[in-house]
């Protein structure tokens, strides 16, 4: 291949997805999100429900539901802006170069077709293979994701598989065309912890084997610590902080990130009183002007009515807060 090897396989620049409700109000669900994904790395998009993490990831593939619209931004994948691609071209990217696995394997698989038919369909769609060859690949994929008796499973319907097995089948389908990028949208949220451990282990293994990049969307900071190299923290449709994993956990600088980390019940220690973030996540129709964390933040001041500028505060560490210096200072004084 003569294509230059970009360091970043995917660059998302200032993407905006707005929704319009019945009353015609504009809901800025995703409002200027930027991040990049390097080859072979796992990046986590983390945040609470409604922060726009799933909408962002689907917008990369131009998949936005009918009430929403991508109103701006760029999605540069391998040197090409995906948002400029016509639908027909886009379809060849989806599933082939960029694949997705969803939270609910039960609803993402069509109940009237067998597992085999669904995987084979995905393969034939993107690769010039005969049915027989595709079936071979499908069986190989099922074996790869650790489904016992793959030959038998090909002929089974989704309801005959357990939740964990369905998620494995979903992964097999997503990876059957050897995508360069996998978007995993809360892949284990509907699964039990012991099954979650299996699936995460599987994703990690396959990533190593196939050398793909992963965008992991999750609300679980435990999974983030476990799986990702870089972390993008989102709140109310905006990125509040982005940094390498260790940096985010050891040296968070945005008050929201700090609050989130502190409010998680920890398995590894006993907390007499959990710390909390006061208030509730705002509704998209009533996001505060300026910094959207306003009203819940301990560091709030009049300057917060201005949109905080993204500030590079260290090696690869980006924070969107007017008061990051105070936060850092505060932490230092607390330490000594």
């Amino acid at each position: 291949m003569t294509q230059p090897q970009h360091e970043n396989m995917l660059e998302v620049k200032d993407i905006k997805v707005y929704f319009y409700d019945d009353e015609g109000r504009e809901l800025k669900a995703v409002d200027g999100v930027s991040f990049s994904v390097r080859r072979g790395e796992t990046i986590a998009l983390v945040g609470e429900s409604g922060c726009g993490k799933s909408v962002t990831s689907m917008a990369l593939l131009q998949l936005v539901d009918s009430r929403g619209k991508i109103v701006g931004g760029k999605v540069i994948f391998e040197g090409q802006d995906l948002l400029l691609l016509p639908e027909a071209k886009m379809r060849t990217v989806r599933g082939k170069d960029i694949a997705v696995i969803f939270q609910e394997p039960a609803s993402a698989l069509n109940p009237v077709y067998t597992i085999g038919e669904q995987i084979i369909e995905a393969i034939i769609l993107h690769q010039k293979l005969s049915f027989r060859q595709a079936r071979e690949v499908a069986r190989e994929m099922l074996r790869l994701v650790g489904i016992p008796e793959p030959e038998k499973r090909l002929n089974e319907y989704p309801h005959e598989l357990s939740g964990g097995m369905k998620q494995r089948a979903m992964i097999a389908m997503a990876l059957s065309c050897r995508p360069k990028l996998l978007i995993a949208d809360e892949p284990t949220t509907s699964l039990d912890v012991t099954i979650q451990a299996q699936i995460l282990e599987l994703i990690r293994e396959l990533q190593k084997k196939l050398g793909m990049s992963v965008i992991l969307i999750t609300h679980d900071l435990g999974i983030v610590a476990d799986m990702s190299q870089r972390v993008v923290v989102m709140y109310a449709g905006k990125v509040v902080e982005e940094a390498d994993r260790t940096e985010i956990f050891k040296n968070p600088l945005h008050p929201y990130t700090i609050g989130l980390l502190r409010s998680i019940p920890r398995l590894d220690r006993e907390q007499t009183k959990l710390e909390t973030i006061p208030g509730v996540v705002p509704d998209p129709s009533s996001f505060p002007v300026g910094c959207r964390f306003r009203g819940r933040c301990l560091y709030e001041s009049p300057t917060c009515c201005e949109v905080p500028p993204p500030t590079l505060v260290g090696n690869n560490h980006l924070v969107n807060c007017h008061h990051w210096q105070e936060v850092r200072q505060g932490k230092e004084t607390a330490r000594f």
Partner: protein, 335 residues
């Protein structure tokens, strides 16, 4: 904490029939709760943990007689309630309440918040009408909501606020026992800790006894005094919280604890990855139910291990307790 037993569960079973065919003949049973015995002490918080389908929610519902038990006894405050008629049971319901999992499904969408909280009191004929109204306002403030919300409908509230309303409803009858079934599972992280703190505070103030049903071990660690682990309808281990998180003896408990991801990149655990899925509760395996997935099982497929007390207050149902141990670096921190 006093030591009197408030709830005693003896050999409790709840089987659901599976019907098939034209004549809806019973072709099998789902053994959701399969011979479970334990005691709850007045004033303690007992956590019931396990994965989906282990029967923990069914257990809670059966204790409250929201499901009829198939066999066994439930003794609440010295009185057997598993055989009472539904009218004889009604006055006792006042003393045992439930907080439900789904903050969106557990409040009647067509009732105002005030009536939702008041309903229990009026059913049991507590207080006069004006006193009840006053009480509702008090309760709302107690759970951190404004007393002016009485005339609003559930859909006007967020998940966290609704869960607060559910807590107020349960508290309205001043119960002695509260069963919380996955009460914080559907909430976002930042809201979850608010609700957990609220439940802790209320307990301190009113000295409820909690039965805290959850799949989330990290949450259980923060709120419970003792922990009961279930697998496929049976109890596999019961111990004090400190013991269960530092020295779990049942291989399943070890695997469960090791599987929880911890938000700390320095936390390294020797993760026990279990193979396969939880077997169906319709055809559970012979012997120890966990044996087919257990990394250390030997003769366990034949003999069913009884639940025995291996040390003071630590009960395990395993032939080889402690043969798999929890290994982690940077383990328990004091905080």
């Amino acid at each position: 904490m006093s030591n009197s037993v408030i709830l005693k569960v003896e050999h409790l079973k709840k089987y659901f029939p599976i019907k098939a065919g034209v004549f809806r003949k019973i072709v099998g049973w789902v053994k959701a709760v399969d011979d479970v015995s334990f005691e709850v002490l007045e004033g303690e918080t007992l956590g019931i943990v396990g994965e989906s389908g282990c029967g923990k929610s069914t257990l809670g519902m059966t204790i409250l007689r929201l499901y009829e038990p198939t066999a066994g006894r439930v003794v609440f405050a010295g009185k057997e309630i598993s055989r009472l008629s539904s009218s004889a049971l009604r006055p006792i319901r006042k003393d045992m309440q439930m907080i439900f999992q789904d903050p969106f499904g557990s409040l009647n969408p067509r009732m105002r918040i005030g009536s939702i909280i008041e309903e229990g009191m009026s059913v049991h004929g507590l207080y006069s009408s004006t006193e009840r109204k006053e009480k509702v306002r008090e309760l709302l403030e107690k759970v951190g909501l404004s007393a002016d919300y009485v005339n609003r409908y559930p859909h006007e509230f967020s998940g966290g606020q609704r869960q607060r309303i559910g807590i107020a409803r349960a508290m309205a009858l001043s119960p002695r026992l509260i069963i919380a079934d996955e009460a914080v599972s559907s909430l976002d992280v930042s809201i979850r800790s608010q609700i957990l703190n609220l439940m802790k505070e209320l307990k301190r103030e009113y000295s409820f006894t909690y039965l805290f049903i959850s799949h989330d071990l990290a949450v259980v660690r923060q709120i419970c005094d003792r922990v009961l682990v279930m697998y496929l309808g049976r109890i596999v281990e019961i111990a004090d919280k400190k013991v269960i998180f530092s020295r779990p003896l049942h291989p399943y408990t070890v695997a469960l604890i090791s599987a929880v991801p911890v938000p700390d990149p320095d936390y390294v655990v020797d993760r026990v990855i279990l193979h396969g899925d939880v077997p169906s509760p319709i055809h559970p395996p012979s012997g120890c139910y966990f044996a087919p997935r257990c990394p250390v099982a030997e003769r366990c497929r034949k003999d069913e291990p009884p639940l025995v007390e291996v040390e003071n207050g630590h009960w395990v149902a395993c032939h080889l307790p402690g043969s798999l141990s929890l290994k982690r670096e940077n383990g328990d921190k004091k905080c």
